[in-house]
Amino acid sequence: MFRNLIIASVAFVAISTPAASQENLNDLEIAHAAYTADLIDIRYAHIALAISDTPEIREFAELMIRDHTAVNEGAFELLAELNAAPQDNAFSQALLAGAKEKNAELLSLRGAAFDRAYAANEHGYHQAVNEIVGNIWLNDVQTPELKDFLAQALVTFQIHEGHAAQMVKATR
C-alpha cells in the first residue's frame, strides 16, 4: 500500500512526507484534511480558469469547482449535525505547503505547457487523494457518518481521476 501511495504521490510530494503523515489522524483531523484537499483542488481550478483558454481544461476546472464545493458543503452539513469542528493538523499544513509550491509552478506556465501541467497534476493529485481516502482514512475513521461521507466523496474523486486521465491524454 505504501509503495502504491508513494508512486501515486509523485505529482504531489507533500502528501507523503513522513513528518506529516496522513495516518494516525483522528476523525476531526481527517475531516479537516479532506476539506483542505478539496479547497486546494478548487484553487487549482481557479488558476486554470485564469490562465487556460482550452475548452476542455476550462470545463474540467469548472467541474472541479462545482463538485468539490458540493462535497465541502456536505462536509459542513455533516459536521454541523455532529456538532463537531474539524481540527487543523500537520498533514493539512503539509497539504497546503505542497499546494503553495504547485500553485507557483502552475502560475508560471502558459499555453499548452500549462494545460499539460494542470492535467498531470489533477491526475496525480486525485490518484494520491484517492489512495489515502480509500486505503487509509476509510479504515481509520471511527465515526460511521464520517465513514459514509468519505465513501461517497471517494466515488466523486474516482470519477474525477478517470476524467483527469483522459485530460492527460488529450493534452499530450
Binding site: L63, R66, D67, A70, V71, E73, G74, Q152, A153, V155, T156, I159, G162, H163
Partner: protein
C-alpha cells in the same frame, strides 16, 4: 427530428419541465401525492442518481406519467436529453427534477456535467 415537427411540438406541449432545484427531496410518504395534481391515473416514476449512475438506467413510462430524478450524490447532476428535448436544472444533493412524459419515443439522456452517466426513457402510448 426537426424542432418544428408535430411530434416535437406535441412533446413540448406535454413536457412540463418542472425543476424543483432548490427544493428538498420529497419524503417517501408524500412522494405519490406530490405529482398527482389532476386526479388522473398517471404514474410517478422515481430515478435515483447515486454514485454517478441513474437507477434505473432504462425506464419505460407511458404518456402522461411523471418522471422524477432525485440526486443523492454530493456532486450536482442533471438529466439532459441528448437531443435537448428535456433538461432538468442543476440538481444538488437532495434536489428533485421532474418532467411529464409526452409523445411516445425513446430518449437517451446524460448528465450535463458528467458525460459518462447514461440513461434512457422509453415513452409508450398511454392508450
Amino acid at each position: 427530428m426537426s424542432l418544428r415537427s408535430p411530434l416535437r411540438k406535441s412533446f413540448y406541449q406535454h413536457l412540463m419541465l418542472v425543476s424543483l432545484a432548490g427544493a428538498m427531496s420529497f419524503p417517501p410518504t408524500t412522494f405519490a401525492a406530490a405529482a398527482d395534481d389532476g386526479g388522473d391515473s398517471s404514474t410517478v416514476h422515481r430515478i435515483t442518481i447515486e454514485k454517478f449512475k441513474y437507477g434505473p438506467s432504462i425506464l419505460k413510462v407511458k404518456t402522461g406519467d411523471t418522471i422524477e430524478w432525485v440526486n443523492k450524490d454530493f456532486a450536482p447532476h442533471t438529466a439532459t436529453a441528448l437531443d435537448d428535448v428535456f433538461k432538468t436544472e442543476k440538481l444538488k444533493r437532495g434536489d428533485v427534477g421532474m418532467i411529464v412524459a409526452g409523445a411516445p419515443q425513446t430518449i437517451d439522456y446524460t448528465c450535463q456535467f458528467h458525460s459518462n452517466m447514461k440513461g434512457q426513457i422509453v415513452i409508450e402510448s398511454g392508450d
